[in-house]
Symmetry: C2
Subunit: 134 residues, 2 copies
């Protein structure tokens, strides 16, 4: 098996590509969301396709409101189970479902609050029309 020369990307390029800063990538490594990355002889970090995917996944989860702390738990499980996707995905699904529930509730409440306000406003308008001046 010839180790296919995977294309590696440097931290600066990657950050620019993803629209984040290098600090963020280092921070994710710092808190254990990413394993220690490969280093060039000079000590510069470089990332392969899998690592890039991992960062993208992290960003996606973050965007959806999942905290880095929650991801750390996932990451720990993931790593302690030797990167076996079949054991990790149920946990991901669990967390996702939890958030889906929360977000759904929030949406419901926001909408009903909106309705309440609209109705409230309507009632006030009606009152004002009824008695032009007190």
């Amino acid at each position: 098996m010839t180790t296919t020369q995977e294309p590696l990307i440097q931290i600066g390029k990657l950050a620019k590509q993803l629209g984040i800063t290098t600090r963020t990538i280092r921070y994710y490594e710092e808190i254990g969301l990413m394993g220690p990355s490969k280093r060039s002889s000079g000590g510069a970090r470089s990332y392969d396709r899998d690592e890039v995917l991992r960062i993208k996944f992290i960003l996606k989860l973050k965007e959806l409101g999942i905290s880095l702390k929650e991801m750390q738990i996932l990451a720990d499980t993931f790593d302690s189970y030797n990167q076996r996707f079949d054991t990790i995905t149920p946990q991901v699904l669990e967390i996702l479902d939890l958030h889906i529930g929360k977000v759904n509730d929030k949406l419901t409440n926001l909408s009903s609050l909106r309705d309440d306000i609209v109705n409230y406003r309507r009632r006030i308008a009606a009152l004002l029309e009824e008695q032009p001046s007190a």
Copy 2:
């Protein structure tokens, strides 16, 4: 017009009733979400029905993901328009609609991510069954 003796509630009681701390109430005053409250001769804060409603409203908005900073903007508008609900509610609705949109998007994305993961998992499972051992 006899100023109907409105029932006033003290900060401690109110906090307990709302399930928050007195610090939180003072904090809301501190950042201008609440106007300065009435004080007893001894300097203790007390709140009337309207102020209680205002705090409850704040808590509700907060629960729904609206930041205190956003509320400050509302509060400022509210106060600068002399507490006229008809001018303020459109702004509240605007902010609410914005959030409803965001939350809705989030929900959509969360769900589709969930689906992706489920499908991904399914494909892996299929692969594993096809070739029991590599």
